[in-house]
Symmetry: C2
Subunit: 369 residues, 2 copies
């Protein structure tokens, strides 16, 4: 499978939900597989909070594959010999798409905290412009987990003719206060870190040591992605070192895991971008511009395939069920399927338990309309 990278520049303004305007912007993306002549085989993949457009494949000299590599590739569930897969870095991100550290045209300087608040709707709108630019008027399917599921749901409401198949994993129709409170820890950590300098840091300030505040945000993120059960299975009460006194004074494996992942993440991810993305997550509410959830979901024309995970505390399976029930209450019982996956992995399951859910994705892609 070949990885194709692209970046598109848009010179026409993007009108944001907040009322503010981005005069111009870039959207970076990757594609895998080939677009067929009818331009009818595109599958859009939306990435999650800390993901990127690098969804699949592996670059030379890179020891890690894309974040959904087990699913996407030649002869895999999302088969790149058959489909043209595209994944775009979200607006506000830090992997090539326009975000807070991008240069503002009018001032010639980075936006930083002057960057406008971005919503999921804005992210989806910018992506639609990318797809149009690439000649994709309609996608065969769209799919996303977590923040990616928010984009997929938003897209299905606001662009109801864009696709017939919408697959949501570990998603919700509105971010819960539980999730907002985890994000709050990250926000407080970042803005109170002296090295964050109220957003006036240099782009390479954190390349070596990372940024404590963002590391902390990532650590607390890890808690929210996991569950008491998956943590016990993974770490139990194991110590990093178990000789004698160390057992009393020493570090637990789970502590080392959090430190390692937290600080490493903070070396590669932009803290301002993180702030803007968690804000976009917090304010996601599919009912905001509608009378009710029933009203907003009523706009959807595609079939929804919902994949929820037991023990997902961040985006409760109950919320996915509410989406299902709402669609059914609209008299569209055959336009929704709900798979409830038994997993101890909590929210993270959509990045781990492929064997338990890939058949539902396959089924969705195989269904004909």
């Amino acid at each position: 499978m070949v990885i194709n990278q692209g970046i598109e520049h848009f010179n026409s303004p993007l009108y944001l939900e907040s009322g503010r305007i981005l005069e111009s912007y870039d959207i970076a993306y990757e594609t895998y597989g080939n677009l067929d002549k009818k331009r009818s085989n595109a599958i859009v993949v939306f990435h999650a909070l800390t993901g990127s457009q690098h969804a699949a494949g592996r670059y030379e000299n890179d020891n890690k594959s894309g974040w959904w590599d087990p699913l996407i590739g030649d002869n895999k569930t999302i088969d790149t010999t058959k489909y043209f897969v595209i994944c775009a870095n979200i607006l506000g991100g830090c992997n090539g798409s326009t975000g807070p550290m991008s240069i503002e045209y009018s001032s010639g300087k980075s936006y930083r905290l002057k960057f406008p608040v971005i919503t999921i709707s804005d992210i989806v709108k910018a992506q639609q412009n990318l797809f149009k630019r690439l000649g994709i008027e309609e996608a065969f399917a769209i799919i996303g987990g977590s923040l990616g599921a928010m984009q997929a749901l938003c897209c299905s409401i606001e662009y109801p003719n864009f696709t017939k198949r919408v697959i949501l994993l570990a998603g919700t129709y509105a971010t819960s206060p539980w999730a907002i409170s985890f994000n709050k820890i990250a926000m407080e950590g970042i803005v109170n870190d002296p090295r964050f300098k109220n957003g006036q840091y240099e782009a390479d300030d954190f390349a070596d040591e990372g940024l404590f505040g963002l590391a902390l945000g990532r650590m607390v993120g890890h808690i929210s992605f996991l569950s008491p059960y998956s943590m016990r299975k993974k770490f139990d009460r194991n110590y990093v070192d178990t000789d004698g006194l160390y057992e009393l004074f020493g570090r637990f494996q789970v502590e080392r895991y959090m430190e390692y992942n937290g600080y490493n993440f903070s070396k590669r991810f932009d803290p301002l971008s993180y702030l803007y993305i968690i804000k976009a997550m917090n304010i996601f509410d599919a009912t905001r511009n509608y009378e009710s959830l029933s009203d907003s979901l009523g706009f959807i024309k595609a079939k929804l395939y919902l994949i929820a995970f037991k023990g997902d505390l961040l985006f409760l399976p109950e919320d996915m069920e509410t989406i299902k029930d709402t669609i059914i209450s609209l008299g569209k019982k055959n336009m929704v399927e709900f798979a409830y996956i038994d997993s101890d992995y909590g929210h993270d399951a959509f990045l781990v338990e492929y064997d338990k859910f890939d058949m539902y994705i396959k089924k969705a892609l195989d269904e004909e309309f």
Copy 2:
């Protein structure tokens, strides 16, 4: 009900589990009700992580009552017209008992980070010395929730003749990696806060503004005490202010709640004490000095009354059930009772849902042996 305050000074050394020694130490406490002539009506209450010896009653000019006031008082479930109730501030605490900011006799200075690591066993041992000093050789019952339940369980294993009735709420036999990971956020927050000065702060440095790192620890603590369900019930997605644009850019109620409680807490609680107590929590494992859980629980002579709460993610009801099953497997089925309380409040339920569990406490106190 009269609140009696006391503080006892101990000049004989306390030998700690770590091998280190406290040359002398103080234990501060409160009592309610009167000790009868036979000294047989004492109920020991153990406080949780951020609690104190002020378990019940209200001081003049104080707008808050003790942390278990709905349960403890004249004619209440723990009836102070009948029982003599005693609650001691834990060793390592910051409400009068010896802790890291106490003066080390040999140096004449505060211990700070030279304070020895304290375990639940050490805390219980110091309290036993207090009870002996007060002439209480045997307690009518002992009771505690959360970290207090750890003390009660430890006491029942290590001092099996001390009482016949042990009531544990929202407890566990060993702290889970999930709980350790929440504590990790607090530890990282505190030790990385520049104003913490590696423990060399002045005692009143945080009285006005609080300490960010500890506030963060308290905020993440609040998440762990609650549940996705109780948060939704309490805050939903409500904004602090809902006019126009504010809805997009503004603060959520849950964010304000966390800020308010986090920073207020950090004005009144000592950060070093917090570090030592969460360390004591992390390393609590009732099996540490035993072959197995069955081995350690085998020492218990008292009857165990276990009260677990559905949705307690911090100390899983399953762990309380493991305690029950272990006691039963020891052939002591009539020495354990297990109440599983349906609650959306998560771990916090033992401080909230009195109506749902006070009858189990009453039943335990009424049972005769």
